[in-house]
Structures are given as C-alpha cells and as structure tokens.
C-alpha cells in the first residue's frame, strides 16, 4: 500500500487553477523532493495532503484513509518558522504543541507528554536546549525544534515545506543529514528550492508547475551525468528531464550539458 496516493487531483483558488490532474504515489520510506517555481502549487499540494484544503476534483488518501483521519500519522514542519521570534516561549513548550488532543490532564501538560517531547528533542540533537527561549536560537536550531515538534506524535510521514530557506549552508547540510537519519524509519516529503542539495538526499523527485512530472532518482549514478570526482550531479539536466523549461536557480541562460565522467 502506498503511503500517500493522489489520483486525478485538481485544485483552484476561486478562479485560478493551481493544480491540474495530479497523480502521485509515495511509497513507504521514500524521500520525495518536490521542486518547482514559486506559485507553481508546491505548498498547496502539501496543504491538500495535510487535509487543510479539500480538493475540488480527485482523491487523496494518506495511509489508506482521508488526510483528516490520518492527522496523527503526519508530522508537518511549516514554512517560515522564523517569524514570531519575540514570543516568550520555551523550546519544550513549542515541541509539546505537537501533541494531539487526547488524554490530557486538567491543566498544563502531562508527564508523558513532557517525556515524549524530550525524546523528540533528543532525536534532533536539541535536548540540551529544552528550557531555552525559542527566540534565542539560531535559524537552524529553531528548524530542528520544529522537526521535533512534528515528531512528537511518532508520525509515519514527515512533511517539510522549504525547511532550509533561511538557514546558512552548514545548517542546511545538518538538517538534511538529520532527515536522512529519520528517513530510515519514516517517509519524508520535502518541498525545496535548494535543488542541488535536496537531490543528493532524495530518492524520488517531482516537479510541480500546475501539472506534475515525476522521476525516480534513487540510482543517482545511472540517472545523472555526474561531474567531478565527488559524484555531484547537475541539476539542470534533472530539471529538463522533469519538464522545466528553464532553471530558476542557476545563472546560466542556456544550460550547458556536461560530460559523463
């Protein structure tokens, strides 16, 4: 059974069609990268998977159920987690927000919730910061906390929207290494602009610009012309394969095709 299955999905805001005839299957323990231009419908697709929007046409199932019934199975890291940094709140309180209503104490948080939150923080390597004010962390650290919040319910799927957009290069690597480790147990879906980085970690990629094209990139040496000795591959080729007309992250106007090593 696919973890996420989308069939013939279309979605529009009022008059503007954002997504058209989307078909996508995400299998267990996939690391799916979703790329595409701004306004192409990437975030909208995530919100449909999360059940925040309802599709006008087509069908989405998450773990065999409707998205709303799978909420506890999906961990979500939203875009722009660097807003509201003045807010007086401790790291552990942010993480505990990840818990879904259920057996909750009369007031405050239960002991089990605190233990669970500390466990999630340990997974992302932030357990020493549990009682620090969230605003005093760096962008990368804050993003880890948001991942911990998403892990709080022990989800089977982790969905991240532009997780590294405001983090420096080292921080980005660290986040992706963390996701790679988490990917040993859970399925990961990432929307990203950092194409060159994300594609090294992802095993599947889709390009969304109203419509969707899909590619299995698990065997990178077969799929790509690599250049240099580090096995780095060229994103322009991937973009072409996936149907983009031009590359929005590189400065070359006409993409140069590189030789196979």
């Amino acid at each position: 059974m696919s973890v996420v299955e989308i069939t013939d999905l279309s979605f529009s805001y009022e008059k503007q069609t954002v997504l058209e005839n989307i078909n996508l299957k995400v299998e267990e323990k996939d690391f799916l990268a979703i790329i595409g231009p701004n306004g192409g419908g990437k975030s909208t697709l995530l919100k449909l998977i999360l059940g925040m929007y309802t599709p006008q046409k087509g069908n989405i199932t998450v773990l065999g159920k409707t998205p709303k019934h799978s909420l506890t199975q999906i961990g979500y890291v939203p875009q722009n987690t660097n807003v509201n940094t003045d807010f007086p709140i401790k790291v552990i309180e942010v993480v505990m927000m990840g818990h879904v209503e259920g057996k909750r104490p009369l007031f405050g948080y239960g002991k089990h919730e605190e233990v669970c939150a500390l466990g999630a923080l340990e997974k992302v390597g932030m357990d020493n910061y549990a009682h620090t004010k969230i605003g005093s962390l760096s962008g990368g650290q804050r993003q880890r906390v948001m991942i911990a919040r998403a892990l709080c319910t022990h989800p089977q799927i982790l969905i991240l929207d532009e997780p590294t957009s405001s983090i420096d290069i080292t921080g980005q690597r660290e986040i992706y290494e963390l996701l790679k480790t988490l990917n040993e147990h859970i399925t990961i879906i990432v929307v990203s602009h950092d194409i060159s980085v994300i594609l090294e970690y992802a095993n599947k990629a889709t390009h969304i610009n109203k419509t969707l094209s899909y590619h299995d990139i698990s065997d990178k040496t077969q799929t790509f012309h690599t250049h240099g000795k580090d096995g780095h591959f060229c994103e322009i080729e991937l973009l072409q394969m996936l149907g983009a007309e031009n590359c929005d992250t590189c400065e070359e106007e006409i993409p140069t095709w590189r030789q196979k090593p």
Partner: protein, 268 residues
Amino acid sequence: MMEALQFEFMQHAILAGILVSFAAGIIGSLIVVNRMVFLAGGIAHTSYGGIGLAVYFGLPIFLGASIFAVGAALLIAALTLKKRHRMDTFIGLIWAVGMAIGVIFVDLTPGYNVDLMSYLFGSILAVSSEDLYFMGGLLTLILFIITFWYRDILAVSYDSEYAALRDVNVRFFYTLILILSALTVVVAIKVVGLILVIAMLTIPVYIAEKLSNSLFSMMFISGSIATLFTLLGLWTSYTYNLTSGASIIIVSAVSLGIFLLFNKKVIL
C-alpha cells in the same frame, strides 16, 4: 498619603487598581503576543458607544459598555477570521462608528450630561462597590480560563495554523481572547480611561517580555509591574493633585524609559 488610606474612595481605588492591573497584565500579554494592539484600541473606543447607550437608557455603565465591547469583539473576530488582510480597515471603521454612536446618545440624553472626560481619562477615585465586584469577577474568570486552557491559548497565539492541524479549535480561542480583551478594556476604562487603555495594556507587557521566557511568566510579571505602576501613579496623582489616569500612564512611560536605559542591549 497614609491619612488618605482611611477614605473609602481611596481603599476602593487601590483595590480596583490591583484587580484591573492584574487583568490588564494577563490580557495585555495575550494582546501583544497576538499582535492585536490596534484591535484592542478599536474595542476600547467602540465601547464608548455602549457607555452612551447605557447613559441614554439609564443602565449601569459597565453593563452597557461590556455588551457593546463584546459585540464589537465578536464582529471583529468574525470579520478578521475571514478577511485578515482587511483587518485594519474594519477596526478603524468600528472604532469611529462606536465613538460616534456614544456621542450621539449622550447628546440625546435629556438633562445633565455625563462627564465625557471621566470616561476618556478614567475615574479611579470614583470606583463603587459594584464596580469592584465586576472587576473581581472578571479577574477570577480570566484566571480560570488561563489555568484550564493555557496550552490551547498558547498554541493558538504562537502558531494558529499548526494549532488547527492539531485539532485545536482556533476560531473559538481566537474569539475568546478577543472577548476577554473587550471585558478587560472596559474595566481598565474605569482606571485610566479609554484613550489611555492601550498604554496600560502594552507598557508593562513590553517590559515583562524582556524579562520572561514563557507566556505564563510574562503574564505574571506584567501583572505585577502594572500594579506597581498603578499604585505609584495613584500616589503621584494624590500628592500633586493631578489626573489619576494620566499620572498612571506617565509613571509607566517614565519607568519604561528608565528600564530601556539600563537595558540597552535588549532594545529592539
């Protein structure tokens, strides 16, 4: 000052100052973290419409102002949940219309016209026993709600989109925060007046924000700071024979200035 404490009106003023300051500290914290300051200002001015209506129909002022302010809060909640980007327009509109309704109803009231100034700048020295019950009741209600729904209110205030995904009823808690703000604004009008309410809801909170690392401690600290400012302001007003509401605000503002001066690194 000591001899002043024998007077009942002074005892009432001090008690009212403490009750209202704590309510303002707690709700002011929620207003600031939710970025609703302009919104609270709108509700404060709109409630003047309720004061005008209460005067015209001979109802208790608190009752009229509360009903009108809660009505405004519900209207603003309904409008802003739907059209957040037009929020400032709606608030400005409700702000002006509420004031206008108040002025017109006071005009229409035959005989002696109430002193508009006492509502604009407060009349803490004229707090009745009924007023005190109302203030005490409101503070109890606020403490009750904050105790039992702290985590939901925190979740909605910090990240409402995520809270919705975790099955928290965002609409309900957003509306609840606005209603509590409306009621707090009404009692604060008695102490500092509707023009100065905003300062009372924000100055102590701004200082407390720098000193706290959780919403709970922010509420507690700003409640305490607000109480201190109110009592100091009251003392200043009594000693130098100045308007009480304005004295409280000036004491708060000067204290904020001193705090920032000694805390240069935390400005911004």
